[in-house]
């Protein structure tokens, strides 16, 4: 059915827009006039709460909210009258009255929507006093995120993204009127509720009210300690986004500059999480093959994404046996560094500090999980270590943003650095590992290996187009030498929930499911640079697949370093030693 076109007059000029178009969209896309917004996020937060996008509509008694009011036939809209300007400005002033004026030290000051809005609207003074008398306490309960309710402007973007995109519902409005705050169940704090630490709320927050729990001071401290061997690992999605922090075009592959910058920061070794991504594929691929061959629990579901893992533990604890026992690449990396590499290099594992740079805030939570101390247990007997000396497999997690901040603090001219390589031996990786950073990437990487292992044939075409792209749920039937493998890929927990409900009901038709917590996968992670480009995920994905295509080796099982680690240390995939070091277990976090 063809959409009806409506006539609309915007600021005196005629336009035709399809039926159902909001005034905001009509103004921005058709009339090329920006109507400022604050609480609006297309498709996610469309509540008209902030009252900034108001416009005059002929015949309407009150100003109308452009973000939610749809164009009707022959509507006349005025976006730039004094009545409109005054109302917008005054509403911004009302928000600023209670907003802390600490822009100098605020983490978000350079990218604060509220500050930008005030500047755009020409707010030069706030004629209203502060009405909130007391400062509200910070929510410091989470291992990943910090919330400062004093900076919150109650736009509800975080609430909506948590509920509508992630279906986690960890935060909502509490209290009434000017006492309302965004909070958690019974004000328990993010760390004590169902929050999965994904940080999507942080990405959409227009102010500095939600930030990551910074580990920059810990990392500086380690780097400054001559007794420590500080190694860094970088996740696949970081290299295609970190350039944005330095003004490089969206979707720049900055792998070499990133390695150079980290080395310049003083890391003793600059390694690549991609190495352990390949290792994950070996372990998870063989787990899948094993489950298929031996009639194990299917579908098998990936476990790389710690936000997703906590989601499963919280909302689907009865079907945790579907989740792969493989640790995430970050955690495999930590373990391997402090066992295999330490042994190989003859370094006391207690001296090693593993820092990972991640596109993710949930990784900060993951590294603190009590079971993530495998290397310590490995050494405990050999070195006669006491329990209180227990060290973590991964010591510090920096988000992409934090890593960039350290590079800035060190005065490194990132964009003009000559490219450098990762250090060996934990720096070699394949195209299969690189694509871990995009939704569908783990699936594609696993399929490349599973196909060749199962069929003992070489894959003619390495690209599995059906599992690529940013759609929420993708499915494919993969023909493995006559056997059909049914696979599904979900990104964003709202989509994961759909697939998991099938699994819980025993109705899932799939053999293998990849789930990534964040929309778009890791490239859209909560630790990534905050961008106002609506196509940013697409840009980063393109860069990732370009990196994959340019890699000489594109299948995990062909990575020579992977071959070495199995030959010299682990034996074979899913061996007892591999199980001991590279696999983990889950717990029921549902409220009982």
């Amino acid at each position: 059915m063809e959409t009806r076109m409506l006539n609309v007059k915007i600021n005196g000029r005629d336009y035709q827009v399809p039926d159902g178009t909001t005034i905001l969209k009509a103004a921005r896309e058709y009339a090329k006039i920006d109507v400022p917004t604050l609480c609006y996020l297309e498709g996610i937060s469309e509540e008209g709460a902030c009252a900034i996008c108001v416009v005059e509509v002929k015949g309407a008694r009150n100003l109308q909210r452009a973000c939610v009011v749809k164009v009707s036939e022959s509507m006349e809209v005025w976006t730039n009258t004094s009545r409109v300007r005054e109302a917008r400005k005054l509403n911004v002033e009302l928000l600023l009255a209670n907003h802390p004026k600490d822009c100098f030290t605020c983490e978000k000051s350079q990218i604060c929507d509220l500050r930008e809005l005030a500047s755009e609207l020409g707010v030069r003074e706030v004629e209203f006093p502060r009405t909130r008398t007391e400062l509200l306490p910070l929510d410091n309960t989470s291992l990943s995120l910090v919330r400062d309710p004093n900076k919150c402007v109650l736009c509800r973007r975080c609430v909506n993204v948590c509920a509508k995109v992630q279906s986690v519902y960890a935060i909502d409005i509490m209290g009434r009127g000017s006492n309302s705050t965004v909070s958690t169940f019974l004000d328990e704090g993010l760390g004590n509720v169902e929050c999965v630490n994904c940080g999507q709320c942080l990405l959409v927050c227009p102010t500095g009210a939600i930030t990551e729990r910074s580990e920059i001071p810990d990392v500086w401290k380690a780097l400054g300690n001559p007794d420590k061997v500080v190694v860094v690992e970088t996740a696949p999605a970081v290299r295609v986004a970190i350039g944005e922090e330095f003004g490089m075009p969206d979707g720049t592959q900055a792998t070499g500059k990133m390695a150079a910058a980290l080395r310049s920061l003083g890391f003793d070794k600059v390694f690549d999480t991609d190495f352990s991504a390949d290792l994950t594929i070996m372990e998870e691929g063989f787990e899948l093959i094993g489950r298929i061959k031996n009639g194990g629990v299917l579908p098998l579901i990936t476990s790389c994404s710690p936000g997703w893992v906590k989601f499963a533990e919280t909302f689907f604890p009865k079907v945790l046996d579907h989740v792969s026992t493989c640790k995430s690449p970050q955690q495999m990396f930590g373990t391997v560094t402090k066992t295999y590499w330490a042994e190989k290099m003859g370094i006391d594992p207690r001296k090693i500090v593993v820092v990972s740079v991640m596109p993710c805030t949930a990784k900060k939570f993951e590294k603190e999980r009590p079971e993530m101390k495998t290397a310590f247990h490995y050494w405990q007997e050999k070195l006669g270590l006491k329990d209180e000396e227990a060290f973590k497999d991964v010591d510090c997690v920096l988000t992409t943003r934090e890593a960039a901040q350290m590079i800035r603090e060190a005065g490194i001219d990132f964009t003009n650095l000559p490219d450098e390589d990762f250090d060996k031996p934990l720096g070699e990786s394949t195209g299969a590992a690189v694509i871990f950073g995009a939704t569908g990437g783990v699936m594609e990487a696993a399929l490349r290996t599973a196909y060749e292992v199962l069929t003992k044939k070489s894959l003619a075409k390495l690209d599995f187009g059906d599992v690529r792209g940013l759609e929420g749920i993708k499915t494919a039937d993969v023909d493995i030498d006559g056997t059909i493998l049914k696979v599904a890929v979900a990104n964003g927990l709202g989509n994961a929930r759909v697939l998991m409900e099938q699994v819980q009901k025993g109705e899932s038709p799939y053999h293998f499911i990849e789930i990534m917590c964040c929309p778009g996968g890791c490239l859209g992670g909560g630790g990534q640079p905050i961008s106002d480009n609506p196509d940013i995920k697409q840009k980063r994905a393109e860069a990732i697949y370009k990196e994959d295509a340019g890699k000489p080796i594109r299948k995990s099982h062909e990575n020579p370093e992977i071959k070495d680690i199995y030959k010299d240390f682990l034996g074979e995939p899913n061996s007892e030693k591999a199980h001991h070091l590279l696999h983990t277990e889950y717990c029921d976090r549902s409220c009982k």
Partner: protein, 594 residues
Amino acid sequence: MIRNQLLVCAGGACITSGEKSVKDVLVDELKKNGIEDEVQVIETGCMGACDLGPIVVVYPEGTFYQKVTVKNAGLIVNEHLVKGRTVSELLYTEPTSEKQARTSGDIPFYTRQVKRVLRNCGSIDPLSIEEYIARDGYFALGKALEMTPDDIIQVLVDSGLRGRGGAGFPTGLKWKATREATGSPKYVVCNGDEGDPGAFMDRSVLEGDPHSIIEAMAIAGYAIGAEQGYMYVRAEYPLAIERFEYAIGKAREYGFLGRNILNAGFNFDIEIRIGAGAFVCGEETALLRSIEGKRGMPSIKPPFPAQSGLWNKPTLINNVETYANIPQIITNGAEWFRSVGSAKSPGTKVFALAGMVQNTGLVEVPMGTTLRELVFDIGGGIPGGKKFKAAQTGGPSGGVITADYLDMPIDFDTVKEIGTIMGSGGLIVLDESSCMVDVAKFYLGFTVDESCGKCTPCREGTRQMYQMMERICDGKGHDGDIEKLTKLANVIRDTSLCGLGQSAPNPVLSTIRFYEDEYRAHIYEKKCPSHVCKHLLTYTVTSDKCVGCTACARQCPVHAITGEVKKIHLIDQSKCTKCGSCYEICRFGAIRKE
């Protein structure tokens, strides 16, 4: 054989003034005299004359006994019922003519009213469906089920009935829109979240005549094509909830609710949903969210509930008083309905008369009645010989009607023209001792507390306005405040998301419009002309009246008063906290408050 009936008003005010114990005494005395089988005691809904309570009416004579207490209730049995003698000490005496009234028909408070919505309140036992049926109850439902839905809606359109919740939207058009909306199922909702301070019209109907609402909702269900209704009533109305719940049970028993009602093949039932006490839940979109079990917060209209309401389905939502009109319109026709009221606002309106007026209570008058009739003829005027100053209508969303407009006929449109609203019918009379700045501050404080917090102008703006009003009342106002208040008020009105925010500045704008001089006195002269705002008062000793009794000095909590026995006392203004205790204690009128 029943020879007499005792109607005991069991409205909220009468219950508070001891109705339950009075009733117990009546029942006991009847037993003592062995006439409990001859005299029936019936608790009714609110009879309206709240400050005359507890009220007992003896039928068939209709003798109206007021201010009955536990001590004198026995007289009604022992004198009136046993000996046939009227208890004259319990009759009402009209203050101006000093004539005793025997029945409510002799009391001006009642004679000037036209009871349609309240026709059964105070006349029947709300727990008895038979009594409701005896008053033509459920006749309209039967008649409606023989009509087509379109004909029913046409009658409503013709009647000109407008929503009694406050906005005055034509009810017939609302029904029509809901009937024509696509989507299934459809729902009928009754808004019983009466939240304006001092208003209790809806509560009285729910407590006194619950079947009229059930009947109306069933008619609505048939007319728009819904099988499920929800009565949303606030938790603060436990008696209304109890009686309505009971009435639903009875209606089901009698086949007026449930499946195949009156064999017409029509199914309809009602469930009660109890609100948790948020004023904003009286806003229809917030109310619907609350029924859904979500946080009661308004959403943008359109879509209107008629298109997308409860669970995104077409929903008809009207308030209690609106529904209470429906059965009679169906029974008697549109012309009958239009026979009272004004052309654009036909019918009657129930007001909760309160404040500085002799007769407070619930009154129902034709639309277009003047404020003078309401305040002076029905309300009995202002007590203590004080002058009428203004009437506040529409609660926290409304404004004031000043003495200049005493003779203006009150209906939806006329009040709007002078900057206030009809609202749900709260009418608070203010006399010359009221400070209009203080009154506006009070109402604004109410909306600040009741704002849901969703949109910026209402959440932040009303709070800022309130603080400015506080400043002004505390004597800290400064030049430009009136302009700043007005500017802020206009933006809040223009950009708030729902009716609560859009109307929140009304009390301030309305009082600035009519009483700017009072604002100016507060701001520029640091004076409160009505001597209400504590911080603007000055207490001084009048030298020619002070006898030097030292009472004030001893009473002053901050020792601001000095003076020796039999010498004129002096108040140290720098110490005075304006508590007023000297003013209260002085027997010689020597303390001046200004």
